[in-house]
C-alpha cells in the first residue's frame, strides 16, 4: 500500500473507532439528565437507579473515548502535517475552545462519578448538566473543523501556497457549520436513545424476570423511545437541509451521493442499487420521480447538477451512493419504528409484542451503522480533496514510511479494545444485575 493510502486508512479507522464511543459520550449524559429529572418529578427510585447504572456504563466507555480521542487528535498532526499547517493558521479556534469543553466535561464528570454521594441533589444534576454541555460542545466544535474542510472559508491562498487574509470568524462560521453541527448533535442523541432501547428490549424479551425488573426496563424503554422518536425525526428534517446545503455548496458531492451523471431538472431520487460507471447510471435502484429535485431545492423543477459537469479525476468514489443510502434508509426506518412503538403503547395502550421488541433490539446497532455510514460518506465524498478545492489529499499526507508499523499495531489495538470493552461491560453488569440493585432500594 502506498503511504498516502495507509495514512488515510489509519486515520479513517481511528475515527471510525473513536466515533462509536464519542457518540455515546455525547448522548448518554442527556439520557442521564432525563432520568434525574424524572426522578425529581416522580420521586420514583427506579429513575435514580437508572441514572446510577447508566453513569457506570458511561464511566467505562468514557475511558475509551478519551483515549481514542487523544489518539485521533495527535494522529491528525502526525499523518496530515500539511493539512494541519493550514488548520493551525486558519481554523485552530475550535480546537482551542474544544479543550475547554473537554476540561469542563472531565472536571464535572469526576465530580459526578466520585463525589455524587457527597453532593446535594441540585448540585448533582447541575454537574451532570455540565458534563452534557461539555460533551455536546466538543462535538459541535470538532464538527466545525470538519465542516470547514467541506466548505472552506475565511482565507486566501497565494500562487505559492501561502495563506493570507485570514478571517477567523468567517472560517468558524463557514457555510456548512450550523446545519452540520445540528445534524451531528441530533444524530448522536438519537443513536444513544436507540442503544438504550436495545438493551431494555433485550431484557424485556427474557421470560423469567420479576415484575419489578420488568417495570424498571419498561420505564427505561419509554424514556428512550420518546427521545429516539423526537431525535430521529429532527435528524431527518435537518438531513434534508444538509442535502440542500450540499446542493448549493458542493453539488459534486450530492451528484455522487445520488449517482446522477447528467444535469437535469425534475431529477428522480434513486433509492438502493449501485452506481455503475460503464452504464453512467444507478443500477437496480427504485426511482422516485422528481424527488431529488424536490430534496435539493423544495421545487420539482430545481436543476440538479450531475457528475459530468466535473472532470472525472475530481469525482469522489462512486460507492458513496451506497453509504448515503444506508444512512438515509436507517434514518427512515427508525422514525417509523419509534413512532409505531409509541403509538402502540400510548394510543392503543397495548403491551409491546415480541416482534416489536425484536426490531427494537436491532435499532441501536443500526443507528451506529448509520453514524458510521454518514461520516464515511462525508469524508470519502470529499475525495480527492482534504480541504475541498484547496488541498488535495495526496499533498496533505505525511511521507514517512513508518506509517505501516503504526497502521497494523493500531488496527490490532482497536479490535482488542472493542472486545475488551464489551467484556468489561458484560462482566460489570452481570456482577451487578438490576435485580440486586432493585432489591437493595
Amino acid at each position: 500500500m502506498d503511504i498516502v493510502v495507509m495514512s488515510r486508512v489509519l486515520f479513517g479507522s481511528s475515527m471510525g473507532f473513536h466515533i462509536i464511543y464519542a457518540t455515546i459520550g455525547v448522548g448518554l449524559p442527556i439520557m442521564i439528565i432525563l432520568a434525574e429529572i424524572m426522578y425529581w418529578i416522580k420521586k420514583d427510585k427506579d429513575y435514580a437507579l437508572m441514572a446510577r447504572r447508566w453513569t457506570k456504563g458511561f464511566a467505562i466507555l468514557l475511558a475509551v473515548s478519551i483515549a481514542s480521542g487523544t489518539i485521533v487528535a495527535v494522529l491528525l498532526s502526525l499523518l496530515f502535517p500539511n493539512f494541519m499547517e493550514i488548520v493551525g493558521q486558519v481554523i485552530s479556534l475550535p480546537f482551542q475552545l474544544e479543550i475547554f469543553a473537554f476540561l469542563i466535561e472531565a472536571v464535572f464528570m469526576s465530580i459526578y462519578l466520585y463525589a455524587a454521594d457527597r453532593l446535594p441533589q441540585g448540585l448533582r444534576v447541575l454537574s451532570i448538566f455540565f458534563v452534557a454541555m461539555g460533551a455536546t460542545a466538543s462535538a459541535i466544535l470538532i464538527t466545525d473543523v470538519h465542516a470547514w474542510m467541506n466548505t472552506p472559508a475565511g482565507f486566501e491562498m497565494t500562487e505559492s501556497g501561502a495563506i493570507i487574509n485570514v478571517n477567523v470568524m468567517e472560517a468558524f462560521f463557514n457555510p456548512s457549520f450550523v446545519v452540520t453541527a445540528i445534524h451531528v448533535t441530533l444524530s448522536a442523541y438519537m443513536t444513544v436513545a436507540f442503544l438504550v432501547a436495545s438493551i431494555a428490549a433485550i431484557r424485556l424479551m427474557k421470560r423469567h424476570i420479576s415484575n419489578e425488573e420488568r417495570a424498571y426496563h419498561k420505564k427505561a424503554l419509554m424514556i428512550s423511545l420518546y427521545l429516539g422518536a423526537a431525535m430521529s425525526l429532527g435528524t431527518a428534517i435537518n438531513g434534508h437541509e444538509t442535502a440542500q446545503m450540499l446542493h448549493e455548496q458542493n453539488p459534486r458531492k450530492l451528484a455522487a451521493a445520488e449517482g446522477l451523471f447528467e444535469t437535469t431538472t425534475y431529477a428522480p431520487l434513486s433509492v438502493g442499487g449501485y452506481t455503475s460507471l460503464e452504464d453512467g447510471r444507478v443500477k437496480y435502484a427504485i426511482e422516485i420521480p422528481y424527488a431529488l429535485s424536490f430534496l435539493a431545492g423544495d421545487r420539482f423543477d430545481t436543476e440538479v447538477i450531475g457528475l459530468n459537469e466535473f472532470p472525472e479525476e475530481l469525482w469522489p468514489p462512486l460507492y458513496v451512493h451506497i453509504l448515503f443510502n444506508v444512512m438515509v434508509g436507517i434514518g427512515t426506518l427508525l422514525i417509523a419504528l419509534s413512532f409505531l412503538a409509541l403509538f402502540w403503547k400510548v394510543v392503543l395502550k397495548k403491551d409491546f409484542p415480541g416482534w416489536m421488541l425484536g426490531l427494537l433490539v436491532v435499532g441501536g446497532p443500526l443507528s451506529v451503522i448509520a453514524i458510521e455510514a454518514g461520516w464515511c460518506f462525508s469524508c470519502i465524498g470529499r475525495q480527492p480533496w482534504t480541504i475541498t478545492d484547496v488541498l488535495p489529499t495526496a499533498d496533505a499526507a505525511t511521507k514517512s514510511s513508518s506509517v505501516s508499523i503504526l497502521l497494523f499495531t493500531f488496527l490490532t489495538l482497536y479490535v482488542v479494545l472493542l472486545f475488551v470493552t464489551g467484556f468489561v461491560m458484560r462482566y460489570y453488569f452481570k456482577r451487578n444485575p438490576v435485580e440486586k440493585d432493585l432489591a437493595a432500594q
Binding site: 457506570k56 464511566a59 467505562i60 468514557l62 475511558a63 478519551i66 483515549a67 481514542s68 480521542g69 487523544t70 489518539i71 487528535a73 495527535v74 494522529l75 498532526s77 502526525l78 499523518l79 502535517p81 500539511n82 494541519m84 499547517e85 493550514i86 488548520v87 493551525g88 493558521q89 485552530s92 479556534l93 480546537f95 482551542q96 475552545l97 479543550i99 475547554f100 473537554f102 476540561l103 469542563i104 472531565a106 472536571v107 464535572f108 464528570m109 469526576s110 466520585y114 463525589a115 457527597r118 485570514v166 477567523v168 505525511t398 511521507k399 514517512s400 513508518s402 506509517v403 508499523i405 503504526l406 499495531t409 489495538l413 479494545l417 475488551v420 470493552t421 468489561v424 462482566y427 460489570y428
Partner: protein, 341 residues
C-alpha cells in the same frame, strides 16, 4: 517581548504543567503497582485514590499542549511529525492501553492484578518515550533525504545520551510523585503510607539530581551549542540546585508532632526547583525547536492570530479556575474522600 517568544513561553509553561501532572499520574501508577498487594502499608491505596479522579485532567493537559503547539507554531508540524511519528505513535498506543485498563480495573475486581501491572509498567515506559524526544531536538540525529527529514534511529539508539535522558526522566518522575504522595498521605493522615513515600523520596532525590548533571556530559558533539548555553547561565541552574537543597532538607525537619518531614514545604520547594530548571533549560534551547533546522521564528503563526488565540486562552482559564477549586476541595482536601476505606 516578541510574540513568538511569548508563544514559546506559554507552550513551555504548558509543558511544565504536564511534566508535573504527568509525573504524579505515571508515578502514582508505578507506586500503585509496587504496593498494591502489600498489606503492611496503604501506599498502594493512597496512590490509586489519587489517580482515579485526576488522570482525565492530566490527559487534557497533554491534548492542550499538542493543540497549542500546532496553532502557535503551524510551520513546525511537517518536520516534527516526520521525526516523531514513531515515538509519539507508540506513546499513544501505550497511553491508550494504560487509560482504558486503569478504568476497567475499577470495574472488574477479579482482574485487578494484571491491570495494576499494566498501569505500573506503562507508567514507566510512557515517560521514558516522552523524554527520549528531548535529545532528538538537540541536533545530530536528523538527516535530510530528498529534502525530507529522517530520524537516524540507529545512531539514536546506540547513543548513551538517550539512556541518560531516560534515566533522568524516570528518577525525576518517581521523586516528584513520591514527595507529592507523601503530602497526599499526610492530608489523609495515613502514616504508614507517609513513611513509605518519605523513604523513597530520600534516596530518589539525590540520585535524580546527580543523573541530571551527568546527562549534560553525555550530549553528542552536535549538541555542544546547548551545553555552552547552559554553562553561560550558571545563576539559574545554581538557583535550581539551591531550591533542591531546601526541599530535600525539609524532608528532615521535624514537624511539631515530632514526625520527620514537612511534606507541603518540601513539595513547594521541589516544584519551584523544577520550574526554574525547566525554564532555564528552555532558555538555553532558544531559538531552536530542532537544532539547526527549525527555529521558533520560522515556525510561528501570524502574530495577530496569535493574540486572538491568547484572548481565548485567558477567557477559558478564567472560567475554569472556579471548577478547579471545587475539584481541589473535593478530592485533595475533603477528609471524607481521603479517608474512605
Amino acid at each position: 517581548m516578541e510574540a513568538s517568544t511569548l508563544a514559546i513561553t506559554i507552550l513551555w509553561s504548558l509543558l511544565f504543567i504536564y511534566a508535573m501532572l504527568g509525573s504524579l499520574d505515571f508515578g502514582a501508577g508505578f507506586w500503585g503497582m509496587i504496593y498494591g498487594k502489600d498489606d503492611r502499608t496503604n501506599a498502594g491505596q493512597i496512590a490509586n485514590r489519587f489517580l482515579s479522579p485526576t488522570w482525565e485532567v492530566t490527559n487534557v493537559f497533554f491534548v492542550i499542549f499538542v493543540v497549542a503547539l500546532v496553532s502557535f507554531f503551524p510551520f513546525a508540524t511537517t518536520m516534527l511529525s516526520s521525526l516523531l511519528l514513531v515515538p509519539v505513535g507508540l506513546g499513544l498506543l501505550l497511553l491508550t492501553i494504560r487509560t482504558t485498563f486503569m478504568v476497567f480495573a475499577n470495574h472488574a475486581n477479579r482482574y485487578q492484578n494484571i491491570l495494576r501491572i499494566t498501569s505500573g509498567i506503562t507508567g514507566l515506559i510512557i515517560p521514558a518515550l516522552l523524554v527520549s524526544m528531548l535529545p532528538i531536538t538537540l541536533g545530530g540525529f536528523v538527516e535530510f533525504v530528498d529534502d525530507y527529514p529522517q530520524l537516524l534511529y540507529g545512531k539514536l539508539l546506540a547513543h548513551p545520551t538517550l539512556y541518560m535522558h531516560i534515566a533522568f526522566g524516570l528518577t525525576t518522575e518517581l521523586f516528584i510523585s513520591a514527595v507529592f504522595l507523601m503530602d497526599y498521605s499526610k492530608e489523609a493522615e495515613d502514616w504508614s503510607a507517609y513513611h513509605t513515600y518519605r523513604k523513597h523520596a530520600l534516596w530518589l532525590g539525590p540520585i535524580s539530581i546527580a543523573i541530571a548533571m551527568l546527562t549534560i556530559g553525555t550530549m553528542p558533539e552536535e549538541a555542544s551549542w546547548i551545553v555552552d548555553n547552559i554553562e553561560a547561565n550558571p545563576v539559574w541552574f545554581g538557583l535550581s540546585v539551591a531550591f533542591f537543597i531546601l526541599g530535600y532538607a525539609s524532608l528532615y525537619i521535624k514537624s511539631k508532632h515530632g514526625r520527620k518531614g514537612l511534606a507541603r514545604l518540601a513539595m513547594t520547594f521541589i516544584i519551584i526547583q523544577y520550574g526554574i530548571a525547566i525554564y532555564a533549560y528552555g532558555l538555553a534551547h532558544l531559538p531552536y525547536l530542532i537544532y539547526p533546522d527549525l527555529t521558533i521564528a520560522d515556525s510561528f503563526t501570524d502574530p495577530s492570530i496569535f493574540y486572538k488565540l491568547l484572548v481565548v486562552y485567558a477567557a477559558g482559564f478564567a472560567i475554569l479556575v472556579p471548577a478547579f477549586i471545587l475539584f481541589w476541595r473535593l478530592f485533595l482536601k475533603d477528609q471524607r474522600y481521603l479517608k474512605q476505606q
